[in-house]
C-alpha cells in the first residue's frame, strides 16, 4: 500500500534534460523507479539515456505512456507553469522539487488547482520515497532528490518540511532496523501543495503505516493544525521534532517559510501544541526515531 506512490507508479520528469533533472532521473532509474517519460519542450522525439522517451508536452507524455505522477525540475520562473501543465494533463500527483518560486506564483497555482483532482507535493521539497524490497531499498518509487539507499521498506511514515532533516530521521530508523512505508517532504515554502495534515490523514488511512514521524519548523501554523487533528482523529502513534527554537524572530532561516513574524509561528508554540495533542516530542533531533519507537513499545 504505502501512500501517494508505490513501485508500480509510472513517473514522468518535467525538465528531464537539465543538469539537475538528468542527475536525479539517473538515480531514480538506478533505484528501480518506473520513469516512463520525460518532458522538455523542443526535444520531443529524443530518448533519455537511450531508453526514456522525451515529449514536448505533459499531455502527450501522459497519452503515450500512461504516466500518473510527475517530478518537476524546472527553473523557478517556469515552475508555476509546469505545475499547472501537470494538473491540466490530469496527473494524480505532481511533486515540485524547484526551490525559489515567487510566493505569488504559488498563490495563483493554489487557486487554479481548487477543485482539480491532482495532488501537489512541494515546491522546494526533497520529494517522495516509497522504499522497495531490494538491496538498499531499491525497487521502490523515488520521486525527487532524496538518497535512496538510506531507506528501508517498513511501516513508519515520515513527513517533514525539511530535506536533510527527513534524511536524518529516515537514517535513524533504518540504522535501528526499522523501515518506512513512505517518506514525504512537503517543502519549506510558505505556500505549498500538501500540508502536514494532508499527509498525516493519508498515513492514518494506510494499513501499512503503523507509526508516524512528523518534522516541523518555525513559521506559519501548519504543525498546530495537524496536531489538533491528530489529537481528535489519529489512531497511530506520532512523534515529532520542531526545528528553529534558537532562531531569532523576524529572520528567514534558509527556507522561505521558516520565519517567526509578529510573535507567530514560534517553536515553543508548536512544541506546546504537539505535547497537548499527545505527540511525542523528541528533545533533540538525534532522538526522533527513538522517541517514536519508545511510544510504540519497541
Amino acid at each position: 500500500m504505502a501512500i501517494l506512490v508505490n513501485p508500480k507508479t509510472r513517473l514522468l520528469i518535467q525538465g528531464i534534460t537539465g543538469a539537475f533533472g538528468t542527475r536525479h532521473t539517473q538515480l531514480s532509474l538506478a533505484y528501480g523507479t518506473q520513469v516512463v517519460a520525460g518532458v522538455t519542450p523542443g526535444k520531443g522525439g529524443q530518448l533519455f539515456e537511450n531508453k526514456v522517451p522525451i515529449f514536448d508536452t505533459v499531455a502527450e507524455a501522459v497519452r503515450q505512456t500512461g504516466a500518473t505522477a510527475s517530478a518537476i525540475f524546472v527553473r523557478p520562473a517556469f515552475a508555476a507553469d509546469a505545475i499547472l501543465e501537470g494538473v491540466d494533463a490530469g496527473l494524480d500527483l505532481v511533486v515540485c522539487i524547484t526551490e525559489g518560486i515567487p510566493v505569488n506564483d504559488m498563490v495563483r497555482v493554489k487557486r487554479a488547482m481548487e477543485g482539480k483532482k491532482t495532488r501537489l507535493v512541494g515546491p522546494n521539497c526533497p520529494g517522495v520515497v516509497t522504499p522497495g524490497e531490494g538491496k538498499d531499498s531499491t525497487g521502490g518509487c523515488r520521486i525527487g532528490i532524496a538518497p535512496g539507499y538510506i531507506h528501508k521498506k517498513g511501516n513508519i511514515g515520515v513527513v517533514s518540511r525539511s530535506g536533510t532533516l527527513t534524511y536524518e530521521a529516515v537514517w535513524q530508523l533504518t540504522c535501528r532496523g526499522v523501515g518506512q512505508s513512505t517518506c514525504v517532504g512537503i517543502g519549506g515554502d510558505p505556500v505549498n501543495g500538501s500540508s502536514h495534515l494532508d499527509v498525516i490523514k493519508m498515513f492514518n488511512d494506510d494499513p501499512e503505516t503503523h507509526g508516524i514521524i512528523m518534522i516541523g519548523e518555525i513559521g506559519g501554523s501548519a504543525e498546530e493544525d495537524a496536531a489538533e487533528w491528530i489529537q481528535r482523529h489519529c489512531q497511530k502513534p506520532v512523534a515529532g521534532f520542531i526545528a528553529g527554537a534558537t532562531a531569532p524572530p523576524g529572520r528567514r532561516m534558509g527556507h522561505a517559510g521558516a520565519i517567526v513574524s509578529g510573535g507567530k509561528g514560534t517553536a515553543a508554540a508548536k512544541i506546546a501544541a504537539f505535547k497537548a495533542a499527545g505527540i511525542g516530542v523528541a528533545p533533540t533531533p538525534s532522538e526522533m526515531a527513538e522517541t517514536l519507537l519508545k511510544m510504540m513499545g519497541r
Partner: protein, 405 residues
C-alpha cells in the same frame, strides 16, 4: 529584501496612493534646499526622517547622544541643523540592536495636520494561501500589541487572487474604519492602489502605519500614507530589476552579503559555537541541539544541497570572521553529495585559515568512510562526532574547556 520608507513611498505614489510631498537627501545643504522648496509651496511644518531599515526611529538615540531619528521643524534652518545632527551618525532603536544603523539618507517631507491615525497592511495569509488586507482604527501603534489585546479592532479581507481586491471589499473595510462620505471613495481608490502595488511588486509585506485622515488646505479631509514599510519576496526579485536596484547593501550585515556571493545562507547570531550544515532544516536543528547541550550557536549556515570544495572553504572563512567564535561544529548529512568532497574541503580550509579553534565534524551519508579517512589522515586535530548529539556535546565541551582560565 527591504526598501527604505522613501522608496516605498515612491512606489506607492506610482500606484496613485497619496503620500506627503517631500524628497530624499544625503547632505544638510540638500535638506535645506528641499525644506525651502516645500515651505515656499505653503507647507508650515516639515518632518526630518532618518532612512534606516528599522522601526522605532522616532524614539531612537544617536551615538552622539542626540535624541530622536524623526524630528519636526518649522524653518529651513532648523531642518539644516537637525539634518547635520543625524547624517553620518549611528541611530540606535529598539529594532536595530545596540550596534545601531548609520544614517546616510534623510527624507524631508511635509508634516500634515493629522485628524486621525489608521493602520493598513497587505500580506500573505499562510493558512488560506491567499493575500489578506488588514486594517485597524488603532493607527500609529504597535499592531502586534493591538492584535493581542483587542483582536476585534483588526479588520481583515481575504483576497481571491483570481479577481484581486474587489471594490466592495474596500468599502467594507472603509466602513469598518468608520470612514464616511467622500472618504469612502478615497479609501476604495487608495486600497486598490495599495493592493496592486503589493501584488505587482511581489511584496511580502506592505504596511502603512499610520495611514492618516488629514485636513488639507481647503479644509477638506483626505487620506495620506504618512509612513510606509515594504518587504519584498526575495524569490520574486529576478523579475523586478527596478526594485532590485533599490537594494541598500549598507543595511545588511557584511558577512551575510559576503556569504550570499557564494550561495551560502548565513545569519549571524550572538553565541560562540559556529556551525556549518547542509540544508536549512538540519542547520536550524543543529543550532537547537547546541543550545540543548548548554552551548550557544554563533550562526545559522546552510551550505546547500550540492556544496563544493570552494563553498566549504568560503564558509569557513566567513564563520571565522566572527570574533565571538570559539569552536566549530560541521554537521553534514551527505545524501547525494559526496562526503569525501566535503572532507577534502574541510581539510583544505583548515590548512588555509590556520585554524586553531576546536573543530568537531559529523559526517554521514554517501561515501562517508572515504570522507572520515581523509579527515583522519590529514594530520589535523579534528574531533569526530558519531551522531548529531555526540558531535554537539563534544563541541560544547571543547569550547567550555578552552574558556577556562
Amino acid at each position: 529584501m527591504n526598501l527604505h520608507e522613501y522608496q516605498a513611498k515612491q512606489l506607492l505614489a506610482q500606484y496613485g496612493v497619496a503620500v506627503p510631498a517631500g524628497d530624499v537627501c544625503s547632505t544638510p545643504e540638500a535638506a535645506r534646499t528641499i525644506a525651502e522648496n516645500l515651505l515656499s509651496r505653503g507647507a508650515t511644518l516639515l518632518a526630518v526622517k532618518s532612512q534606516i531599515h528599522a522601526g522605532g526611529r522616532g524614539k531612537g538615540t544617536f551615538n552622539t547622544g542626540f535624541q530622536g531619528g524623526v524630528k519636526l521643524c518649522k524653518t529651513a534652518d532648523d531642518v539644516f541643523e537637525k539634518a547635520r545632527a543625524m547624517l553620518g551618525n549611528v541611530l540606535v532603536t529598539k529594532q536595530t540592536g545596540p550596534e545601531g544603523r548609520l544614517v546616510s539618507k534623510l527624507l524631508i517631507a511635509v508634516a500634515p495636520h493629522i485628524h486621525k491615525e489608521l493602520y493598513l497592511a497587505v500580506l500573505l495569509d499562510r493558512a488560506s494561501s491567499r493575500p489578506v488586507l488588514m486594517a485597524s482604527t488603532e493607527g500609529g501603534m504597535d499592531i502586534e500589541e493591538v492584535a493581542a489585546r483587542t483582536p476585534e479592532k483588526i479588520l481583515k479581507e481575504t483576497i481571491d487572487p483570481a479577481v484581486g481586491l474587489m471594490p466592495y471589499q474596500a468599502r467594507k473595510l472603509a466602513a469598518g474604519l468608520g470612514l464616511q462620505g467622500d472618504l469612502i471613495g478615497q479609501a476604495v481608490k487608495l486600497l486598490s492602489g495599495v493592493y496592486k502595488a503589493w501584488w505587482e511588486s511581489d511584496a511580502a509585506l506592505l504596511e502603512i502605519n499610520p495611514l492618516c485622515i488629514v485636513t488639507a488646505g481647503d479644509a477638506k479631509q483626505g487620506l495620506l500614507a504618512v509612513d510606509a514599510k515594504l518587504s519584498l519576496d526575495d524569490n520574486g526579485l529576478e523579475r523586478h530589476p527596478d526594485l532590485l536596484a533599490m537594494r541598500d547593501l549598507a543595511e545588511e550585515s557584511p558577512l551575510e552579503v559576503e556569504a550570499s556571493k557564494f550561495s551560502l545562507n548565513y545569519i549571524k547570531l550572538e553565541g560562540d559555537i559556529a556551525c556549518l550544515v547542509n540544508g536549512a532544516g538540519l542547520a536550524m536543528a543543529t543550532m537547537d541541539i547546541i543550545q540543548h547541550f548548554g552551548g550557544r550557536p554563533a550562526n545559522f549556515l546552510d551550505v546547500g544541497g550540492g556544496a563544493s570544495k570552494e563553498q566549504v572553504s568560503a564558509a569557513f572563512k566567513i564563520i571565522l570572521q566572527d570574533p565571538n567564535v570559539r569552536g566549530i561544529l560541521v554537521n553534514i548529512f551527505g545524501g547525494i553529495m559526496d562526503c569525501n568532497v566535503i572532507a577534502t574541503g574541510i581539510v583544505a580550509a583548515v590548512k588555509e585559515t590556520g585554524l586553531k579553534l576546536p573543530l568537531v565534524v559529523r559526517l554521514e551519508g554517501n561515501n562517508v568512510e572515504a570522507g572520515k579517512k581523509t579527515l583522519a589522515e590529514s594530520g589535523l586535530t579534528i574531533i569526530g562526532g558519531t551522531s548529531m548529539a555526540d558531535a554537539a556535546q563534544k563541541v560544547v565541551r571543547a569550547v567550555a574547556a578552552g574558556s577556562k582560565p
